[in-house]
Symmetry: C2
Subunit: 283 residues, 2 copies
């Protein structure tokens, strides 16, 4: 595995791969890799000849009160793990080169960024869209793989890729979970043992809603009520939002229509730690 | 010359050129070509193996009260002229494919878009940055050529290309003028014979300011006053702005410092027609 930090060097390496007829698969990450990230690298490998994994804790997607500074980092471990999962090039740009003095350009996606995570984290998706546009220009991927864990991010990046005519195919990898159902996340390390125990409620409430739907329930309000009740039973949990929305437009649904693709999603705080999870249901 | 309308077809053609080791030069235009555009194609040809000229009257860079509908178009003549100036591929996408239903993504550049043209035409440069990002993804140019006539556009696109890490070199072609000094523009056809006669005042006032600078004048206010007096003598002319600014940041200058790169620019209305012109002075 080759580790590249400079943007020009990354662009040359990508150009070289393309010139020799190789397909490039990209997995953009913020590092502190877990099995979820590694699964995306394996998916990328199955669609490409060379996998470029980027590790960049992107300051423009963190709000001023968020955890940019203390976001967990472990580049030595990440380097080992990325290599083990088939990454050919690990791209680790610096903040100084990504956002030099005088930096002024942003990519933004209207409407679907106004709800859910975008509502709670203003500016977050502008930062995500911008950094992914930049990373695509650095690594020139044919295909890029993102995790379903960040469902709204997937919707935003699909929209951006389509709208700006990036010649990049977007592939989505399924959520990878711990044995007890908690979705893997770099932020899980923030949880105290007690919070960690209670955090399984995210997965359990999504499972409960899924059961209700399979039993015929079609009223979004009833599903949200059931999830809300489960979460309320956990003392440390505070709900940011629980959403039942159209999977593409992210517009909230009142009733689940036959044939609809529905995104159940939620964000719950445990102390200072904010966890998200979701489930996609096709009726 | 090959004429391509579909975006996917353009991307395939660009991929094909790149795979065969050819350098692609791009000239984005809104058509109704004149000698200024043709000079850019010749410059592109001198830096690339294949020139892609795009013709697209981009709705997102026109304000609601502007001339999108009546912007002059003549695709037959343009096709002939583009071929004569060495264009290999004429790319003429449709509005429907460039901005499909649900379109939501924009590229925007902060700060330098708040002044001059950006101040008078809110949203204009967001539209320009967005369409150029899209066109770059369609034609995958190694080098793109823009005209100095649109000086602020050049500054905005340089900034965007740098900030978003587009692997594209930006080259700027000089302003091409009519025999009497009027800068060539597709909008010149709007002028009545009397307005056309008076319109040379843009060029004459820039020339006057240049003379004053060469004679030692360093006060921006004096330069603006002299240009303003000349324009005021033309009955049909109404000044939008006259600016003496730093060529990179576009910040207004009070005094021209030694070593400065200074952009003299102005926008003047003749009836419903708005003309711009500029001159770059290195001290």
């Amino acid at each position: 595995m080759n580790v590249i930090s400079g943007i020009a060097e990354m662009q040359s390496a990508a150009e070289e791969l393309r010139r020799s007829g190789k397909r490039i698969g990209m997995v953009p990450t913020m590092g502190f890799l877990h099995e979820g990230h590694l699964s995306l690298m394996r998916i990328a490998r199955s669609h490409a000849d060379a996998v470029v994994t980027s590790i960049f804790v992107n300051p423009t997607q963190f709000g001023p009160a968020e955890d940019f500074e203390k976001y967990p980092r472990d580049i030595e471990r990440d380097t080992r793990l990325a290599a083990s999962a088939g990454t050919a090039i690990l791209f680790v740009p610096t903040v100084a080169e990504m956002y030099p003095d005088g930096y002024a350009t942003y990519a933004s996606v209207d409407r679907i960024t106004d709800v859910l995570e975008g509502k709670v984290r203003p500016g977050h998706f502008r930062g995500v869209a911008t950094v992914v546009a930049k990373l695509f220009h650095c690594a020139a991927p044919h295909v890029a793989v993102f995790g379903q864990k960040d469902a709204q991010q997937v919707a935003v990046l699909r929209r951006m890729t389509l709208d700006l005519n990036f010649p990049v195919e977007i592939i989505v990898g399924p959520i990878v979970r711990e044995a007890d159902g908690l979705a893997m996340s770099s932020r899980n390390v923030y949880l105290s043992p007690e919070e960690r125990r209670q955090s399984t409620v995210l997965h359990r409430s999504l499972a409960k809603a899924g059961e209700l739907i399979r039993a015929g329930e079609r009223r979004a309000g009833v599903l949200i009520g059931a999830m809300s009740d489960l979460i309320a039973a956990q003392a440390a949990a505070k709900v940011d939002y629980i959403s039942v929305a159209d999977a593409d437009t992210l517009k909230e649904l009142q009733v689940l229509a036959q044939g609809a693709s529905v995104l159940l999603s939620l964000a719950v705080r445990f102390g200072a730690t904010r966890l998200i999870d979701n489930s996609l249901v096709n009726l």
